[in-house]
Symmetry: C4
Subunit: 281 residues, 4 copies
């Protein structure tokens, strides 16, 4: 176990070359949202755009398309065949990183589309929320996840993945075990988030605050990791840097908010300052 | 009668534990809005999200769903069966606090749905605006309100509840009487809002300003109380702290606005600073 | 001719009483917008809400309703029977001030509805943009305008009202003549806006800047005047104070913008500071 | 080759006369967006409005109209006959400058409508993105572009126009050649954008940063050039000043963002400061 320090996070951050262009930073795909939960797609997509991706496309039911467009004009939208939820897999060949899960629900065709995504994806996936709940219902899929995929469960979601409710200490052991067995990264969210690597190492996060105990914070983390992956970060650095920056942005956002008033959008508004703060760590 | 001081309000404010999570702060339900008045739902829901609730779901006619999503991506939306107004009661088992009334109108099925809500709710309700007008038309329902419920009438709405127009002094006496008789809290809004408890005590508010005499300020108060209830505040503390913080946020908002230009959204933008200001009272 | 000074404008500004409430500041009605020009309704309505009105309702075709709700949750919306433009007169009994014209177009049923509005209104009207163009096509209606009504033409619209293109000096003479003849106020917009009273006096404005030469600035002025009328200002003070504050807000907005980048929304964002600045004039 | 300095850019900037009005600064037309890419129209239109145009109309499929209205109330919208993309040419007689291309796609009727636009336009066109891709498929149209038109390809789009992939040095030579042959301006975007004139001169840009390597930055540049053309700038000054100010706005936006978090909307928010900064160069 090791606490990730600010200077370690700072070392992971890449300097951008002068002659880079939007292609250099990749094209991210976000699959999120369903009727009543389109906001999850907004938060993940906005965070992704503000975390290094050159381009971001959100795959979404038509009912949610205008909401995404209104939220951020830089986003491109791809319509799902079903109006209200994720039901069909788009052509994946354009995308350098894929984040899936926030607010997608567990409809039958969503389950099938997720299965297909896991089978077809040639890049690491970031799986969160309902994608993890579906995975927990189909644990055999775990072995088919693209190597280097990143799972971001909160404790409830992790219990389902692990098959039983565990103490905090047991959780970290189980987390390490699942990571090693499947060659994946697991970011177990909480007051001190822990990130397990396929090689058995575990990093503990040192940023964040209790004001972040509110809806949408996880969607935002999914977006940040996916954005960094698109921008050519390796899964290890993408997951670790995202974990640190996510908490740091929450800490910075608290300067103009209180623990009661803080919301995930505030955190997104502080991503720039959070990345910049690494220069001073 | 007692003027609520800043230090008393500060004492009511709960410190958040390091290991708390979004479940700790509860799931609030807002029932608000109807055709032409969807903004009331926006204001109540945003204020709720910025006042401590872990999760907020807004129950709303489909016509209003996109407006809510556009206003705040952290919100979850539950569609009413009627497109344009509140007509059917959702499953209440998920919710720790319920705020109802801003902009809902008085359609027949709204009246029936509100009656059902009062009968079925197992948690205290916050009733405002049209919910109070409907209650005034059906005073026998008063006895069936969940214990600890909070009513937030303005003087016009209170007259209807009291059955006659009263002087300011008579109002407070009548307010105290209704609170005691029904085991409920009444927050009578005005230049010096008064909050009556079931035990006969009355608190008078000391924050706020004449710039707050504009539409939507009440919707915002409903949201704040509901958010605090979701976050495990007792009704007494939720109502008193909300009353104080609401006025304080209005006072802080005035620093960048004038009495003419101040609107309810400015107040919501200042909720974080208002909660934080309690540390200095 | 007299240049309106800051201290004169400051004297017109009313102090708000402690025990005032939203009813004290009146209910304004904005009639604006049509297909492709819904933004005109947004600007007029937002400016109205930020200029003292207790409540603002916008009467608008259904196609524009969500745009208005998205723009400002404090607004209430009343649907016109036609989806795309102003075609029917709502019940006027609730309203203390009415602003009409920005972006309404000149459809036949719009012309009829405007005629009816002029006949039925019991409060002064603020007429702008297409309402003035319709009036120019029907000059006999001028005599039926409610006493104290305020017209806000730009030079092109004024030429149509006056029946011929006039030099700047001739314009002011003609403006004074039309005001006296019809018992109305005319605010002729331009670099130095001139405001003529029914008693023959003319005030010249001293605020504003060339960055305000862009679309939507007039819609904003209509909203400010209507907001002040709702808040119980007399037409003379409402028109004069609005003219001054509108230009002042534009001047303040320029501190964070350039003449090229300034837009009407910036001006609305600075209305609070503009009203407050009067204390220092 | 010449590096455009800040003081040269400052000299190009026009002072606004006191008695100018919105007509003085012209009416710009933006043709942009299609299903899934409405945001491109938002960015181009907003940038245009904040770059000097007196009025801006966006021609857009009905599906995108509300998104544009929500983004900026100062915009006017003209509906295309097709709901989802650019398919028919509007009456061009009202417009002083026309920007076309961001996000329009390459549908058959879009190709036909663009051809008609090139044939009918009596003012210089700004062509970007898919308009350039269509042009690359129909190189004979190049000779029919209105004199003084401005093309803004990124290197990929330029390769298609040039007919082959070229080294950086070869690109500039080819760029100069195409400009001279067709009497047009070409702004080849990149880390050091180059702007070629019909007379053979080439200006190299000195502003901008690697944070601008993300989606939507080009749409924004199209809007700025079109706005300056509407405001009576000659094509040479419009293109050169826009190139400089676009990069400067990106540099200023970086003060509150990081290279990872910067998005095109941040740049638009800093256009005012970028224009103002020219006074200090």
């Amino acid at each position: 176990f090791h606490y990730l320090t600010g200077s370690e996070a700072a070392e992971m951050r890449k300097v951008r070359g002068t002659y880079s262009h939007k292609g250099t930073y990749g094209h991210a795909l976000i699959i999120a949202g369903a009727e009543g939960k389109w906001g999850a797609a907004v938060l993940a997509s906005k965070a992704c755009l503000r975390s290094g991706a050159g381009l971001v496309t959100t795959h979404i039911g038509t009912q949610g398309a205008d909401i995404l467009h209104n939220a951020m004009p830089e986003l491109m939208i791809q319509h799902d065949k079903a109006g209200t939820h994720f039901s069909n897999l788009p052509d994946l060949s354009d995308y350098d990183a894929i984040g899936v899960g926030p607010g997608i629900g567990k409809s039958d065709d969503t389950v099938r589309a997720l299965k297909l995504l896991i089978q077809e994806a040639k890049v690491p996936l970031v799986l969160d929320a309902d994608a993890l709940n579906i995975l927990a219902d189909n644990l055999t899929w775990m072995a088919f996840l693209p190597k280097g995929s990143i799972l971001t469960p909160h404790p409830g979601e992790f219990s389902r993945l692990a098959g039983s409710k565990l103490s905090h200490f047991e959780s970290i052991e189980k987390q390490r075990e699942i990571s090693q067995k499947n060659g994946i990264y697991i970011l177990l969210k909480g007051a001190n988030s822990s990130l397990s690597f396929p090689d058995g190492r575990v990093l503990i996060n040192s940023t964040g605050n209790p004001g972040m105990a509110s809806g949408g914070m996880g969607d935002t983390l999914t977006g940040i990791i996916t954005g960094l992956l698109a921008a050519q970060y390796k899964p290890l650095e993408a997951a670790a840097l995202a974990m640190f920056v996510h908490g740091r942005a929450g800490d910075l956002a608290l300067k103009n908010q209180s623990v009661e008033s803080l919301v995930a959008s505030d955190l997104i508004d502080n991503l720039g300052k959070a990345f910049e703060s690494l220069s001073h760590d």
